[in-house]
């Protein structure tokens, strides 16, 4: 495909089919088989109007949307390709296999997993390639994760060019919050052939998005807008073919080379467009000016200081190691949320622990993190399988940490970075270790850059780490590191990354040394410091640097940071006076509860603290809730405060390397078909605070998963929730499945539509009207 000429696409298909008599509600792709001549006739009109790329009538031809129509996906797709091919006869036409959204929301908001989505797209791609499509176009996506699944499915299962267009609102975001930079960085990285926008808005509204997009990518640009905005009352679009064509001419002056129409456009629109662009070619484009990494919803643009948070890492952290061994992903996610709140721009993710399935843990952690935070991720591992698992699951453009000058490492990791479009950290060391001189480190950096370029990775995406050595052991090395850093930055023009904490190891008042070194490194040209963002001294230094370097315009962020800061350490030494743990919990005071628990742990065992202080306090809160003296938010606040106490107990136990105290395991799930999980979440917090280990299966959970987990973990109490009348049926099914399995366990149920009678009727052992009662039931069953 050549993009230095204008490529004309077709216009709307769905509305044309409806005008030709397709009944609303019928699968439009069915006509590829039952009325191929009607489909071809519509497409033929587009060809005669000037279209040179025809989208096949396969927008919804996926396993999910077309189920029950009587034909397989392969049949619908290959018939679709045939229709388009027939329509283009006698013309030089490219047939694009059209792929639209699946129609089911992906995780974390929906129930469809990334892997299932990939599989659904793979089926379409295989059928389309087999049927002889010339290229693949994935369109109308508002979820970058779904788009990524489709792009990978296309690129891994055929050699055809891949075009992608997404749907955005006027605000510059998709319905799912995807930003233009995030789309550009991610899809350019994944190696699509052209990208842009379709549907959503009229040409005029989409132009400003095109202006933003071309700053972030050098790929050919596609624009396929609607015929303006629809009249709400009638659903009709309002602009004329001539207006449409006139407005799209401006897109050409912005360098857009692939143009067509979406909702509301007809062959007349394409004809007007063809006439308007006759003889013109897309304006030459300046190279992209911006770069960085991103999540689906936020980009960390390089050019200023971007802090990488280092806390998701088990090295030297007993409590973190315990969480990894117990599969406690929530604990890990909390470390991510904390760092985001503290001002990190990117999160390093290291979940490697001997004896653990690192690829699986990496995949789960990446998915859980991106559900909870907006930050781009840095996949930190030495295991290529774990790196690939992380990169694949990551929604956005990640960083890989790391490669070094060793030939075999470069050869193994760089292809992964290229395939998934990740940036890469290159450590200035090789087979011979860490060179002592700045010059030798720079030489390794050059080798790494060369290798990356040879693998097709852009220079912008290579970040060099000149390596921090401990100043108490090798004092002269601090200056060498800074010298190397300056050369890499200024002479090689590369971005730099550096873990700074190591510098102060073995010295008193470590923070003072670390902060000073950080400041010096920033002045030497460090872009991406890897630090603990929870240490406010580090973030203060970064904030100050951003003012002095001019990045923080008008010192706004700096002023905000310090205007709202509490007096130093006021929170840490909150006077607790004569307050008891019980009072602190009752009033929902987290810090006080933690302080009092810490004090109690000095003279009592962990178990004593739990049994004689924390749990009785929770009991009293529960009783007051039952008497309606307090209500739900207060109950939860109290539980959260108790949680702060329990966290100290767990840390104290982890420090001794012992297993956690647990009063027994409970499985909780919101049943299949139901997505309302707030009630279940409340129950979980309360149960955990009573010392039970809760295995939370989440929402929309199939009966089989509940049974498998209950059996595998030998759980004696299962809690199910359902909010809708319609999903109580699925609750009954889950209970029946548990009974059938013969596994010996009690079942408690809760949820708005349930009553005591109803619960008994569907075979539950207990009905819990609220979280307090679920704790009472747990006590009865598990003790």
């Amino acid at each position: 495909m050549e993009y230095d000429r204008i490529v004309l696409l077709d216009g709307a298909m769905g509305t044309m089919l409806q005008a030709a008599g397709l009944p609303m509600g019928q699968v439009p792709e069915l006509w590829n088989i039952t009325q191929p001549e009607t489909v071809s006739a519509i497409q033929r009109q587009y060809v005669e109007a000037g279209s040179r790329v025809l989208y096949t009538n396969t927008f919804g031809a996926n396993r999910y949307k077309a189920s029950g129509c009587g034909h397989s996906v392969a049949e619908l797709v290959s018939a679709g390709v045939r229709c388009a091919r027939a329509a283009g006869e006698g013309f030089e036409i490219k047939v694009a296999l059209d792929i639209g959204p699946i129609g089911q929301l992906l995780e974390p908001l929906g129930a469809l997993s990334f892997e299932e989505a990939y599989d659904i797209f793979r089926e379409i791609v295989l059928a389309g390639a087999e049927a002889g499509a010339d290229l693949i176009v994935i369109e109308t996506m508002s979820d970058l994760y779904e788009m990524k699944a489709a792009v990978l499915a296309a690129k891994e299962n055929c050699d055809l060019p891949v075009w992608t267009t997404m749907t955005f609102e006027k605000t510059g975001r998709s319905f799912l919050g995807v930003t233009v930079p995030a789309m550009a960085l991610t899809l350019t990285g994944l190696g699509v052939d052209a990208l842009g926008f379709n549907c959503s808005l009229g040409p005029k509204e989409l132009l400003s998005l095109i202006r933003e997009l071309r700053e972030w990518t050098d790929l050919p640009l596609i624009l396929k807008p609607n015929a303006g905005l629809p009249d709400p009352a009638t659903g009709k679009y309002h602009i004329t073919p001539e207006e449409f064509a006139f407005e799209l001419k401006e897109a050409i002056s912005l360098g857009v080379s692939v143009l067509g129409g979406c909702c509301g456009t007809t062959p007349d629109f394409i004809r007007a467009l063809a006439e308007a662009v006759r003889g013109s070619s897309p304006a030459p484009r300046a190279p992209k000016v911006r770069c960085g990494v991103c999540s689906a919803t936020a980009a960390a643009e390089l050019g200023g200081v971007r802090v990488i948070g280092e806390r998701i890492n088990p090295t030297g952290k007993k409590r973190f190691q315990q969480a990894l061994r117990e599969g406690d992903i929530d604990y890990i996610v909390q470390r991510g949320v904390e760092q985001q709140d503290a001002g990190a721009d990117i999160l390093d993710v290291n979940v490697g622990l001997p004896g653990l399935d690192e690829p699986d843990m990496m995949r789960r952690t990446v998915k859980a993190l991106q559900a909870a935070v907006d930050l781009p991720l840095q996949i930190d591992s030495s295991d290529p399988t774990a790196i690939e698992a992380g990169l694949r699951a990551c929604c956005g453009k990640a960083i890989v940490n790391s490669v070094n000058g060793k030939r075999e490492v470069l050869e193994r990791i760089l292809p992964l970075c290229k395939k998934y479009g990740a940036a890469v950290v290159g450590l200035c060391m090789d087979e011979t270790g860490i060179p002592q001189s700045a010059e030798a480190r720079v030489a390794i950096a050059r080798r790494i850059l060369e290798a990356a370029l040879a693998h097709g990775i852009e220079k912008d995406d290579v970040y060099i780490d000149c390596l921090t050595l401990t100043v108490s052991a090798q004092q002269e090395q601090a200056a060498e590191t800074l010298r190397a850093l300056r050369t890499v930055k200024e002479e090689m023009g590369l971005h730099t990354v550096l873990g700074v904490s190591n510098i102060s190891f073995g010295l008193p008042a470590r923070e003072t040394i670390t902060r000073s070194f950080l400041t010096q490194a920033l002045y030497a040209g460090l872009d991406l410091p890897i630090v603990n963002p929870n240490q406010s001294a580090m973030m203060d230094a970064v904030a100050a640097y951003r003012v002095l370097s001019g990045e923080d315009r008008g010192s706004e962020a700096y002023i905000r940071r310090f205007a709202s800061a509490p007096a130093p350490d006021a929170a840490a030494h909150m006077p607790t006076g004569e307050m008891s743990i019980g009072e602190a919990i009752m009033r929902g005071l987290k810090q006080e509860t933690a302080a009092l628990t810490a004090a109690a742990l000095k003279s009592m065992s962990e178990l004593e603290v739990v049994d004689t202080l924390l749990i009785p306090a929770l009991d009293r809160v529960g009783e007051r809730y039952e008497r309606e003296e307090i209500f739900l938010p207060q109950l939860i606040n109290a539980a959260n405060a108790a949680c702060a106490g329990f966290e100290l107990v767990k840390t104290s136990i982890a420090k001794r390397g012992e297993k956690n105290v647990s009063k027994g395991k409970i499985v909780l799930a919101t049943v299949q078909g139901d997505i309302h999980d707030i009630g279940k979440n409340i129950v979980r917090v309360v149960l955990e605070n009573y010392g039970y280990t809760v295995i939370d299966l989440g929402r929309d959970v199939p009966p089989a998963t509940v049974v498998e987990t209950a059996v595998r973990e030998n759980v004696r109490l299962v809690g199910l929730s359902a909010l809708m009348t319609t999903t109580v049926a699925s609750m009954a099914e889950t209970i029946a499945a548990l009974h059938r399995s013969g596994h010996d366990c009690k079942i408690m149920v809760g949820g708005a539509v349930l009553t005591e009678d109803y619960a008994a009727q569907i075979g539950a052992d207990y009905y819990a009207k609220d979280a307090k009662q679920s704790a009472d039931i747990a006590k009865r069953v598990l003790g």
């Binding site: 509600g25 959204p101 908001l109 739900l632 939860i636 309302h676």
Partner: protein, 222 residues
């Protein structure tokens, strides 16, 4: 007509929180205030609607859709047209509630109530605007899938009529639940004669089955 959301009534939030009339402490009052503000700043209400003439047998003109159940037919008895609407607070509100749950569950519960009250307020505001625009004609209350005997599966038809997913970014699960959860679809009848306020009283309420007040033999007072 754009989606409007200016404030969220605290009385409604308390109702969603199953507040039973015990003493409301000052800090909870402050929490309501704070969560209302947070929800107002975060939510991005969107709506899509279309008007259809009503043909015999409650068929919507230009479609093959008959609203399901007997109740909706009685409801539209006096009407010659029907407005089909869908509204949502957007993924922004959904994420706010979900992500807050990981940090502070109590806030998340209050935000969830704020979201429920907010989407109802968006619909109320829209109906107010419609009533003004359609005067001197008259509108019925809103009637949604799940009310009375109108099946939840009517969501599928409504989604297809309005192209809800593409237009306002709401997704429908296989069990016909909407994501973002703070979303509403409804039918509103248009008539030449004044329409009774049927939307009051337990039977017409979308929460009829779920209502914690009703379970205890009480009423929320509406």
């Amino acid at each position: 007509m754009e989606a409007r959301l200016e404030s969220i009534p605290h009385t409604e939030m308390l109702r969603y929180l199953s507040y039973h009339g015990s003493f409301l402490p000052e800090e909870i009052r402050a929490d309501l205030e704070r969560c209302e503000g947070l929800m107002l700043r975060t939510a991005r209400p969107r709506l899509v609607w279309r008007m259809f003439a009503l043909l015999p047998d409650s068929l919507l003109e230009g479609t093959d859709y008959h609203p399901g159940g007997e109740d909706i037919r009685a409801f539209l008895y006096d009407c010659d047209s029907v407005i089909v609407m869908a509204a949502t607070l957007g993924i922004e509100a959904e994420n706010l509630i979900r992500r807050t749950a990981g940090k502070n569950l109590a806030d998340s519960v209050i935000l969830d109530a704020a979201g429920s009250a907010a989407i109802e307020a968006v619909c109320d505001n829209f109906c107010e605007d419609l009533a003004a625009a359609f005067a001197p004609r008259f509108l019925t209350d809103r009637f949604s899938p799940g009310y009375g005997d109108m099946p939840l599966s009517d969501q599928r038809a409504i989604f297809s009529l309005l192209d809800v997913s593409r237009r306002i970014g709401v997704s429908l699960s296989e069990s016909c639940l909407m994501i973002p959860q703070k979303s509403v679809t409804a039918l509103i009848g248009v008539s030449d004669r004044p329409q009774p306020k049927r939307g009051r009283g337990c039977e017409a309420c979308g929460n009829y089955e779920n209502c914690c007040y009703r379970k205890e033999g009480k009423s929320c007072g509406i």
